[in-house]
Amino acid sequence: MIVVQDIHKSFGSNHVLRGIDATFEPGKISLIIGGSGSGKSTLLKCMVGLHAPDRGKILYQGQDFTRLDFESRIPIRKEIGMLFQNSALFDSMTVEQNITFPLEMFTEMSRTEKVDRANFCLERVNLAGRNKLYPAELSGGMKKRVGIARAISMSPKYLFVDEPNSGLDPETSILIDELIAELTQEYQCTTVVVTHDMNSVMGIGDYILFLYKGQKWWEGSNKEIAHTDVEELNNFVFASPFMKVAKEQF
């Protein structure tokens, strides 16, 4: 479980996060949604330690991540898997090397065990046999799936996903969402997804946190979101004519 308490973050005079509180539970997919500049990516980066919050706590199983130094964070970081918006695969490494990299750094597995683990992760994301390809040889959807394979290589307890559907066609987006949902169930991990994609919100959002101007504006499930009367949330979720029609059907 991850608990976020009163998180504030500013960049110069720009106060991006203004006291966010939230709880992200294991085995559930939590979505952070909001318009551009609402602070959702900043919140995610604070949670994984890429940004230091100005104030507040981020508790991993009760342990305050913000107060730990680099060395003390390593045990928690070994339990974190993250998929980046642009996949962030290491260009100079093959698919297999990308997946085995964390294993090489932090485990004493033999070469065969590491390759077996890479093969298992690749099978899990339907990319079996693509071990020797380089990231430049992969499509956008394949890169995302390799990113997921790398994220699960260490059997994470916490899975963070930044804009998993950006730049993907609707069909591939749904496949990625399904994969995230399956992995969350399989590993019973605490999954936090930052997204703009309303299909994801409606499809896999067990818990949804809506940020508006750096504040928590609404929280609830994907079932509750259709019936909310929060104007800012409705303007965001049901912005398109298609979604407005869809809302009538709920």
Binding site: G49, R77, Q85, N86, D91, F106
Partner: protein, 244 residues
């Protein structure tokens, strides 16, 4: 402003020299970097140094118009100029352009594509993993390249002198073997080690803190080369003043 950047550079270096997570992986990276920096620059350094040596011979001969000065002095001046200054400094400036810009753009690209963030989230000390192997490779391979450069420049001087008729090979060889002071080689090696550190660490710093996209990576690379070249020349002056 200067002190802010210099402080940031020193803090980065402190992270670079933290104990590696796994030496085995770092060692593999060091070998790869040594190949990239050393073997990858060998041809360029040999060509440039040979021509510099040849041109130096002809220019020294042009300036030594007095019949009272033996032509063997050409070899002597060429040797000392190349060992003390041209070998280390010209090689370092050339390598700053070739190796430095490559390091800056490589690390900068990793920064803007979130690859460095990915390393940090995994719990890997990104400055150590990305920069330490480059610094070690630079400090080891650049002195080796400087030795090659000095050898090529002296040989180039011999060939250039013979082809142009400025000095006979016998006189030139007499000059380069006459009154040789081994301390000049020590000065050259100290310069090479310091230059090796600058050539790898300054561009790595500029690349590591780049923000933005492809345009900023290019700009950081240019700035890294400019700052690196100025740092090399400043270090050259300080080392010369201290050791000679």
């Amino acid at each position: 402003m200067f002190f802010t950047y210099f402080g940031q550079y020193l803090l980065l270096l402190r992270s670079v020299f933290k104990r590696p997570e796994k030496w085995k992986i770092y060692w593999k990276e060091i070998i790869l970097e040594m190949n990239e920096i050393g073997i990858g620059s060998l041809g360029l350094i040999m060509i440039i140094s040979s021509f510099i040596g040849a041109v130096m011979t002809m220019q020294i001969a042009f300036q030594l118009v007095s019949d009272l000065i033996p032509t063997s002095v050409i070899g002597q001046i060429n040797r000392d100029s190349n060992i003390l200054e041209l070998g280390p400094t010209i090689s370092a400036l050339v390598l700053m352009g070739k190796v430095g810009s490559s390091i800056s753009s490589q690390i900068g690209s990793m920064r803007v594509t979130e690859q460095i963030d990915a390393l940090e989230i995994m719990g890997i000390n990104a400055p150590g993993y990305l920069i330490l192997p480059k610094i070690i490779a630079g400090v080891v391979m650049i002195p080796a390249l400087v030795v090659v450069a000095i050898g090529c420049a002296i040989t180039g001087g011999l060939v250039g002198g013979a082809l142009s008729g400025a000095v006979t090979p016998a006189d030139y060889i007499m000059g380069i073997t006459d009154s040789f002071n081994g301390f000049t080689v020590s000065v050259a090696m100290v310069k090479a080690v310091v230059f090796g550190f600058i050539i790898t660490s300054v561009p790595a710093y500029k690349g590591f803190y780049v923000r933005g996209g492809a345009l900023e990576v290019g700009q950081a690379s240019t700035r890294a080369v400019v700052i690196g070249c100025i740092s090399i020349l400043a270090a050259d002056y300080v080392i010369t003043a201290m050791m000679l």
